[in-house]
Every structure is written in C-alpha cells, then in structure tokens.
C-alpha cells in the first residue's frame, strides 16, 4: 500500500468561472505528489473540448463583481452594479463580461483554463468523461482532447471509494 493521497473531483459546471476550480485543484494536487481524477459530467463536459468556449454569465451570478481590467487602480477596484434587466437583455453582454474576466485574469497573472488543463495532463491527472451525459447532450469523442477516459458512475466511484478528498464542483 502506498500512502499517496488521492483527490476525486466531479466537474459539473462549464462556465469560465466554474471551470477554473477543478483544474486548479487537480493540477496543484498533482504538484503536491497526490493522485487526482476529474470526472466531467453534465455541463462540465464542454471543459474537455479541443476548442474551449467557456463563457461567464453575470445574469446568473447575482454576487459576481463586474470589474474593469484597465484604468487606475481605484477604477479597477470598482464593482460595477449591473441590473439584471441589462445583463439579461443586452445582446452580447455575456461576451463582454467574458472578455473582461479573461483580461482581468491575464493582468493578474492567472493561468488560462487551457494552460491549467494541459498542466493537469502533463502531471498525470486522469480525466474521465461521463458517457451517459455525452450521449444525452450529443458529444462525440472526436470533439474532446486526447487522453480522456470514458466511463460512468461506477468508474468514478471505484476510484473515489479510496479517495482522501472528494469534491463536487
């Protein structure tokens, strides 16, 4: 028996903001000599696509601060109050919010999701795609990056049964 710690994560959300935690935690766990598995299911599946198009939607995140990635430090620290009538109805608002979040992250020296994802694979993190939700939502294996395993609840639970940390994200 090895005393290697094991991390098991279920990634169930595919927006830009919710896409970060699984890859941050799994890559860091691997960097700390732990084993890590991410099981991608439901809306987490698009995080495995070759071309990531994760966006963020302020309309569905009432507590999400809207920040500007440019201007003085004081200007950048302002939380812009965006009424739902605007965030939900103005065409292209999610695209703008996504662009602002990506730009802010870049300026703060935060890795992109693509970077973290490839570091996970480099460090030996296992990615398992949920076969059932792939069928339901019509995803094909060809759309996903190389190195993905395919399985269901039992595949995840077999690993998670021996995990020291299990997270549902």
């Amino acid at each position: 028996m090895s005393d290697t710690k094991k991390l098991a994560i279920i990634a169930s959300q595919g927006t830009l903001d919710w896409g970060y935690p699984p890859f941050i935690l799994a890559s860091t766990a691997a960097a700390m000599d732990m084993e890590a598995v991410i099981f991608f299911t439901f809306y987490g599946l698009p995080l495995l696509k070759k071309e990531l198009d994760a966006k963020v939607s302020p309309h569905s995140n009432p507590a999400m601060p809207m920040k500007m990635p440019f201007g003085s430090k004081e200007f950048q620290s302002v939380n812009w109050p965006i009424p739902n009538v605007i965030s939900g109805n103005v065409p292209g608002f999610d695209n703008m919010a996504t662009m602002l979040m990506k730009e802010t992250f870049k300026k703060k020296g935060v890795a992109t999701i693509e970077q973290l994802r490839s570091m996970c694979l480099e460090f030996g993190v296992r990615f398992i795609a949920c076969q059932m939700t792939m069928d339901v939502f019509g995803f094909e294996k060809e759309e996903f990056i190389d190195g993905v395993e395919y399985g269901g609840a039992a595949t995840f639970l077999e690993y998670a049964a021996d995990a020291d940390i299990s997270l549902f994200i």
Binding site: I24, S27, T28, A30, A31, M32, D33, M34, K108, G109, V110, A111, L116, M119, F123
Partner: protein, 78 residues
C-alpha cells in the same frame, strides 16, 4: 538577502496561484536530490502555499526572504 548558492533559478514574479507552485514542481523534477532551487514570486499567497507544498512533498524549504514585495524561496530537493 541570502547569498545561498542555487543550482537553478525560477522567476515566477507576476504569476498568480497556482502557477508558482506548478512551475516550482516542474523545476524541482528536473533537479537531482540535494540540489537547490531558487524561486522568486510576487504573489503574497505563495508564502503559505510554498510552505504547504514543501510540507506535503517533503522537499525542504531552506529559506524565505522578502524584499520590496518580492519573495525569494530556496528549496532543497529531497
């Protein structure tokens, strides 16, 4: 500033969590046991993170200094 000799230097200034840890792991992997990595970072969170990382992995955090918001870590590979 510590004048400790290092085998390799890694600049993580301007990078944010978890990149300094991930890059440190990659750098340490390329060293031999006993060799020293010097890593610099500006992320204030890296102070606690480096201590936790070292505790978990067993690599020795030999020294940590801070000057004008730049943190310098010396890590000896186990």
């Amino acid at each position: 500033m510590s004048e400790m000799a290092s085998t390799m230097e890694l600049n993580c200034e301007g990078l944010n969590c978890p990149l300094p840890i991930l890059k440190t792991k990659k750098a340490i992997d390329s060293l031999n046991s006993g060799e020293i990595l010097k890593m610099t970072a500006t992320d204030p969170g890296s102070v606690n993170d480096m201590a936790s990382w070292a505790k978990r992995t067993g690599h020795e955090l030999v020294a940590h200094t801070e000057a004008s918001n730049v943190h310098t870590f010396f890590i000896r590979k186990k």
